[in-house]
Structures are given as structure tokens and as C-alpha cells.
């Protein structure tokens, strides 16, 4: 999901090592949680659950990824979505239907014993509900990891924090961050490492896209990049059928954006969507502080309530507790 401009970005992606990534990372929380929920599953697609049937895939992802981040010198801040803009409703409805269909297909595949299909459909049926959000925030608080409530889209807030210099880069699998003006976007951070897809194990490495280099290479402004996004379709508008990244780039470069929209989608007014990307609701109301993890609190939550192995939880936390005694300057800026 997000904006489909992948074909324009091929030459702008730099593969990174973890050493390049130390610093403050503003994570699109919903995107990260969705990744955890899709990927962290049993072979038949069943998510990790506790004895009471509550999903725990996201908690596993947060714990082990966060520990990994801290060990590598990455200081994550999770940015949660707020109220979606009205024009996102169509996308939200579509996603809901898509998940419901995937849920049905998963059950069918299980009945038929097709494990590969079951895993695929189960991944697509992953949904983020209020339990997922509340338990994620509780765990982040216990881990001493800051999170920010965005007034609207999390990616817009993350992009703003990078522009302000609060964070070094935004983290998301979607490219929308670039349309929201994040100077640097890092992908594959929440999914990197060895990973199984369709029975094959592949290695996924973090990759970076620098907005200024992308705009230079395409020869467009950020405003024009937003227009390209609107033509191919974003979370806020369906786009024009048959127009992909390259065609959209041509249209925008030729200054034909308004004309093409007027011709193909006469009922669609692109102004609110454009405005939303260029000047989205964001907030300065956040404080970033990484505290020492509350080890007993994490153990109580994950082991007592969510049936995680206490030994695994403690050994994961031991890796970061030494480093956590070092304060950062954030508290004083």
C-alpha cells in the first residue's frame, strides 16, 4: 500500500549496513506493527498467541527488534497514526474488505491443507486493532522507548521530525514519507535479516532513499513528486487507471498534471490531497527520552500475561540494560 512509485526509485536506493544507521529513527508505528503481524507467524499462518488466544506477534517484534536497534546504536521512536483524513475512507474500506477476503481464503487453504497459501493469506489478513495498539504502547513504555501520537498520519509526523532535525531518518516500507517531505527514508529496517518468502529464504538489507537526490535525478520538485503520486494513486486517491510511475513523471514534467486530471477524472479535485502531502497536520508536542528498561515490568507483562519464555525475555533485555545507563542529550535540548 502507500504510493506506487517504486519503478522511479530503482537508481536512488542505497543499501546500508547497520553502521550507517546509528542515530534516531522515526518509525511509522502502524507500518512496523503491520510488518510484525504479517511476518511473525507459524508455518500455517497462525499468528503467535498466548494461552487465551490474544495475538502476541507484534510484541515479539517490538521486543526483539528494539533490542536489536539499541544494540546497533539506533534509537527508535514510534510514531502512531492519529485521525485519518476524510479522503482516506475509501482506502480504509478497501483494506477492510481485502482483509476479510484474505481471512476467508486463509480458512479455505487450511481446510485444503495448502500451507503456503494459508501463510500468504494469513499475512494479508493481519489487522491492527485497539488491543494491538494499546499493548504495543504499554510494552514501549516499559522498554523505555518513546512514542509519539501523530495528529493525523504517522508518516507525516515522522517526516516532520526528520525535517526538524529531531530524527536522522524516517522508517517505513511505504514511499509516502518522501511525498510528506522526509529528507531521508530508510526501508527494510523492521524486516531486515533473513526472511522466508514463498518457501525461499532471502536476505533483506536496509536501504536508504535521500529525497534531494531523488528529486535531482527525476528533475522534479517535491510538489511535482506529490503530483506524480496523485496520478499513480495514493492512500488518499485511487489514481488514474493505466498510469504508472514513468507515465506520471512524463505528464508532470510536461506540465500536464491539471489537464490530465481534468480529462480523466473530472469529478476529482486533487487540491486537498496535494495540500495534505505538502502541509499535513503535525505536532511539536513530543519529548524524546530513552529510559532504562523496566526489566521486571517487561517480564511481568510478557511472561506472566502473554506467555513469553521468561528466559528469552530476560536475555534479550540483558543485551541493552548496560547501554541504557548512558543518558542522551535529548533531555536537555
Amino acid at each position: 500500500m502507500g504510493v506506487a512509485i517504486r519503478d522511479l526509485l530503482a537508481d536512488c536506493k542505497e543499501t546500508l549496513t547497520w553502521d550507517d544507521l546509528s542515530g534516531i529513527a522515526a518509525l511509522d508505528a502502524h507500518n512496523a506493527l503491520y510488518q510484525f503481524l504479517s511476518i511473525i507467524r507459524q508455518p500455517d499462518g497462525t499468528p503467535l498467541m498466548n494461552g487465551a488466544g490474544r495475538i502476541t506477534s507484534h510484541l515479539s517484534g517490538i521486543l526483539f527488534r528494539t533490542v536489536n536497534f539499541l544494540e546497533k546504536g539506533v534509537r527508535p521512536v514510534f510514531v502512531f497514526d492519529g485521525k485519518p483524513p476524510e479522503f482516506k475512507q475509501e482506502t480504509i474500506n478497501e483494506r477492510r474488505e481485502h482483509r476479510a477476503r484474505a481471512d476467508e481464503a486463509w480458512k479455505t487453504a487450511l481446510r485444503e491443507g495448502d500451507m503456503e497459501e494459508a501463510y500468504k493469506q494469513a499475512s494479508a489478513s493481519a489487522r491492527i486493532d485497539s488491543h494491538i495498539i494499546a499493548s504495543s504502547r504499554e510494552l514501549l513504555d516499559l522498554l523505555g522507548i518513546p512514542w509519539v501520537q501523530a495528529p493525523s498520519e504517522g508518516e507525516a509526523q515522522a517526516a516532520y521530525m526528520v525535517r526538524r532535525g529531531t530524527a536522522a531518518y524516517a522508517v517505513s516500507q511505504d514511499y509516502d514519507s518522501l511525498l510528506f517531505g522526509s529528507p531521508v527514508l530508510v526501508r527494510n529496517l523492521t524486516v531486515s535479516g533473513r526472511r522466508k518468502t514463498r518457501g525461499r529464504t532471502i536476505t533483506v538489507s536496509p536501504e536508504r532513499i535521500v529525497l534531494s537526490s531523488l528529486l535531482d535525478r527525476l528533475g522534479v520538485t517535491r510538489e511535482q513528486l506529490v503530483e506524480i503520486g496523485i496520478l499513480v494513486g495514493t492512500d488518499f486517491n485511487p489514481g488514474i487507471r493505466g498510469v504508472g510511475g514513468k507515465t506520471a513523471l512524463k505528464i508532470v514534467r510536461n506540465g500536464e498534471f491539471e489537464g490530465v486530471i481534468a480529462e480523466k477524472q473530472p469529478d476529482f479535485d486533487p487540491a486537498p490531497v496535494r495540500e495534505f502531502f505538502l502541509d499535513p497536520p503535525v505536532t511539536d508536542d513530543y519529548a524524546l527520552e530513552w529510559r532504562t528498561p523496566d526489566v521486571e515490568g517487561v517480564v511481568e507483562m510478557l511472561s506472566s500475561r502473554y506467555d513469553f519464555s521468561e528466559e528469552r525475555v530476560r536475555s534479550a533485555l540483558a543485551k541493552v540494560s548496560v547501554k541504557a545507563t548512558q543518558k542522551t542529550l535529548d533531555a536537555w535540548f
Binding site: S22, G23, G73, G165, T325, Q326, K327, L329, D330, W332
Partner: protein, 247 residues
């Protein structure tokens, strides 16, 4: 625009001061100075450096911003001889910086400033305790503490009128207290904070060359070190976040 000539030793001193914390930085040029303010990747320490035009043999610059690869510069500096005059020329169109000295002419690519973290705001911290310490005494104490521990407490004891450094190893303990005789000046306000020696070692090597280092302290607060470089034509400031006393 930047075209300036400077004594290689002063340039080395300046780059070393920055390299103690970061491998890349945004360097701001202006009509009368160059300056940078950078935070290390872990957000634990900050370096600010200002070099006035008077530190240069000749200096001509306009307001601008350069992305410097400090690690690369440090390697090039190794090639410079004592007493060499170094000429820095910004090649605007190519986004390159040319360094010429002793017959060498290096042209190094500048980094895209957008990939370097923005300058942090000047932090507003009230650090009431102050001691002015000879730079080599400070560096020696850090080195002594490094033998037995990975952290060191810096503090001021207003009753004893001393600035002290104290480190606790698994079995060993070391304390150095400097009284009024050994200090250049002291503002005797109760202060004590714990710091990582890893960071202090790199800063200490740079501070060792300064006659006087102003040390500002509070209780469980960052420490600020301020000292002159380039015969008073430049100034360096380090800010280091404290560690929390472990149980």
C-alpha cells in the same frame, strides 16, 4: 564561496577536535568565521567549534554550508608536514573541496548536507559548578581512570574547595582532587555526575593541548568543556550527557 589559507597545525587541531565525536559534519561558512555544531550518532555528546577569520593567514568566504567527511579529512591531514600552509578552496560547481599543501593538491567530494543530521539547537542547561583546569591534568586523570573503569565521576566539593575525578573499578578505586593551587579558577558549587570514559578519552586527547579548560558541572547533568584553539582565534565546546549511577 570559500578560499582560505591556514597553518596546517591549526587545521589539524580543529579537525581533531571534531573527529573526537563525529565522522561527518555540516560546516557553516560566513564572512568572518567557519563553525560547526554536531551531535554524535548516539546523541550522547556534542561538539561545537568556531574558527574566526583571524585564525587564517588569509580568509575569504560567503555564507554557505558544506558537508564534510571528517574521517577522510583526518587521513589527509596525516600527510601534512609541520609548518605547511594549507589552502582550502571550495569548488562550488563540482561540490568539491580542494586542499593544497606542500606540493600536494587533494580534491575531495563534499557530502550531501541533506544526509547529515541537522545542527542541534544550542541546549539550555544550567551548570552552576565551574572549574578551570589545565588540559593535560584533565587528560591524565581520564587516562588514569581508564585503567580501572569505563566510567568516571567528575565533581566539585565546595567544602574542600576541590574539583575531583573519581573512578570505581570492580576491585580498585582512584581519586584525584585538585585544590586551588592546582586549578586556574573554581566556582565552588556542589556538583557530581558520572560519565563514560569511552567518550572522555577521545575528548581528553584534544583537550590535553589546551592550557586551560573550563569545566561546567551540575548534579546528574551533562558536563561542558570549553577551551580555546588557534591561539585564542577559535573556540571548542564539548557537551557530554551523564551516565546513570548503576545499582
Amino acid at each position: 564561496m570559500l578560499k582560505a589559507t591556514i597553518d596546517a597545525e591549526i587545521f589539524r587541531e580543529s579537525i581533531d577536535a571534531i573527529a573526537a565525536l563525529v565522522t561527518e559534519c555540516r560546516l557553516h561558512t560566513a564572512e568572518d568565521q567557519i563553525r560547526t555544531r554536531s551531535v554524535d550518532t548516539a546523541n550522547v555528546a556534542m561538539v561545537s567549534l568556531e574558527l574566526q577569520s583571524t585564525a587564517f593567514n588569509s580568509f575569504s568566504a560567503t555564507v554557505g554550508e558544506l558537508g564534510l567527511d571528517i574521517a577522510k579529512l583526518k587521513n589527509i591531514i596525516g600527510m601534512m608536514g609541520k609548518g605547511d600552509a594549507l589552502t582550502l578552496t571550495l569548488l562550488d560547481e563540482e561540490r568539491k573541496l580542494e586542499l593544497s599543501f606542500g606540493g600536494y593538491r587533494y580534491s575531495i567530494s563534499l557530502l550531501d548536507v541533506n544526509t547529515i543530521r541537522k545542527d542541534p539547537n544550542p541546549p539550555g542547561i544550567d551548570l552552576p559548578g565551574k572549574a578551570v583546569v589545565p588540559g593535560d591534568a584533565l587528560n591524565n586523570a581520564i587516562k588514569a581512570a581508564a585503567v580501572i573503569s569505563d566510567k568516571i565521576a567528575l565533581g566539585i566539593d565546595p567544602d574542600a574547595m576541590t574539583f575531583y575525578m573519581e573512578a570505581e573499578g570492580d576491585t580498585d578505586h582512584i581519586k584525584l582532587a585538585l585544590g586551588e593551587d592546582e586549578l586556574v579558577a573554581l566556582n565552588p558549587v556542589q556538583a557530581r555526575s558520572l560519565f563514560s570514559i569511552d567518550y572522555l578519552k577521545d575528548m581528553g586527547r584534544v583537550m590535553a593541548r589546551a592550557d586551560e579548560v573550563e569545566v561546567y558541572l551540575g548534579i546528574d547533568h551533562p558536563v561542558r568543556f570549553v577551551f580555546d584553539i588557534a591561539d585564542g582565534n577559535g573556540r571548542v565546546e564539548y557537551l557530554l550527557a551523564p551516565r546513570i549511577e548503576a545499582d
